[in-house]
């Protein structure tokens, strides 16, 4: 935890207290049960993870027909895969994939709030929701990418995608070279959440 994300503990306590009070009042009223939140969290934390995104990326790397379909009709391509049912409407609709190529790098941001594609990526990293990151990434993506260790050739075009209620973008990163004889499992290890947002490359270790 760095200092820039520290904030006064009284504000945190106020929000924490409000959230806890809301939950107990809703339980008391019978709107939810004492188990409801745990059940929803357990489902979310076991099923809505980056593993789904990793499978999508590896299928796109190994199946040219799927690679085409995932960018032209993302929901239909995802429907072909054996994924658990999405939480009703919770960010899973309107998923839209974009693929990195030799001359094009895609970066996903959300300038309003975090319209993050949870079902395929899990929850976003903490810094992703920071307004400074969001506005800088929109304004000077090449510089921000260089700072996080993605040094792109000067002639690589950077496309910045702003996630919204209507389109929740995720990136199909490029398959690293020298991986022709990798198994699917080995390939999945190369795909990170960060590479599917476009703030890292697949297989990038630093």
């Amino acid at each position: 935890m760095t200092g820039q994300f520290a904030y006064p503990s009284d504000r945190e306590e106020a929000s924490a207290a409000k959230a806890a009070a809301l939950e107990s009042l809703l339980i008391e009223k019978g709107v939810i049960t004492p188990q409801t939140v745990d059940k929803v969290l357990a489902y979310f934390e076991t099923e809505m993870t980056p593993l789904n995104g990793k499978k999508i990326v590896v299928k796109a790397w190994t199946d040219p027909e799927f690679a085409e379909k995932i960018v032209t009709d993302t929901p239909a391509a995802i429907a072909e895969m054996d994924f658990p049912d999405g939480m009703a409407g919770a960010e899973g609709e309107h998923l839209q994939a974009v693929a990195n190529t030799a001359g094009v790098h895609n970066l996903v941001i959300c300038t309003l709030c975090s319209c993050f594609p949870w079902p395929v990526l899990g929850l976003p990293p903490y810094w992703y929701k920071d307004p400074t990151f969001r506005s800088r990434a929109a304004r000077e993506p090449r510089k921000v990418l260089a700072e996080v260790g993605v040094d792109l050739p000067a002639d690589t075009e950077i496309k910045v995608w702003d996630s919204s209620g209507h389109s929740r973008w995720f990136v199909i990163p490029e398959r690293p070279s020298g991986t022709d004889d990798f198994t699917d499992e080995m390939l999945m290890d190369l795909v990170t959440t960060e590479s599917m947002i476009g703030v890292a490359l697949a297989g990038q270790t630093s």
Partner: protein
């Protein structure tokens, strides 16, 4: 500004800093899942809440904390849908039933 140090390490990226944030997240999701409000409404309200913060002068708005806005949004929706004040109407699988209207004849 330097980005957060966990930026490029997949495993180390914290999802929640505190358990209460995780529960507030789960509560918002649960109320939508059981159809007390559509998820899109939560999201639009969150966007508006964050928008208000962003258009407030820096000296007046306090530090950025995503989950403060999350909890504020949750409070607004609980109020708007009268979840703590209206009678509870749910079906056999705990899904909220639509509020009856007088004019459907």
């Amino acid at each position: 500004m330097k980005l957060h140090e966990t930026c490029t390490t997949d495993q180390a990226a914290p999802q929640f800093d505190h358990e209460w944030q995780r529960r507030a997240f789960g509560l918002a999701l649960a109320l939508s899942e059981f159809r007390h409000y559509p998820w899109s409404e939560f999201q639009e309200t969150l966007i508006a809440t964050i928008g208000e913060w962003e258009s407030t002068p820096e000296s007046e708005r306090g530090q950025w904390e995503y989950y403060d806005h999350w909890v504020a949004t949750l409070e607004k929706l609980v109020d708007r849908h009268e979840l703590l004040t209206a009678p509870v109407l749910t079906d056999a699988s705990d899904h909220a039933l639509p509020v009856a209207h007088d004019h459907d004849h």
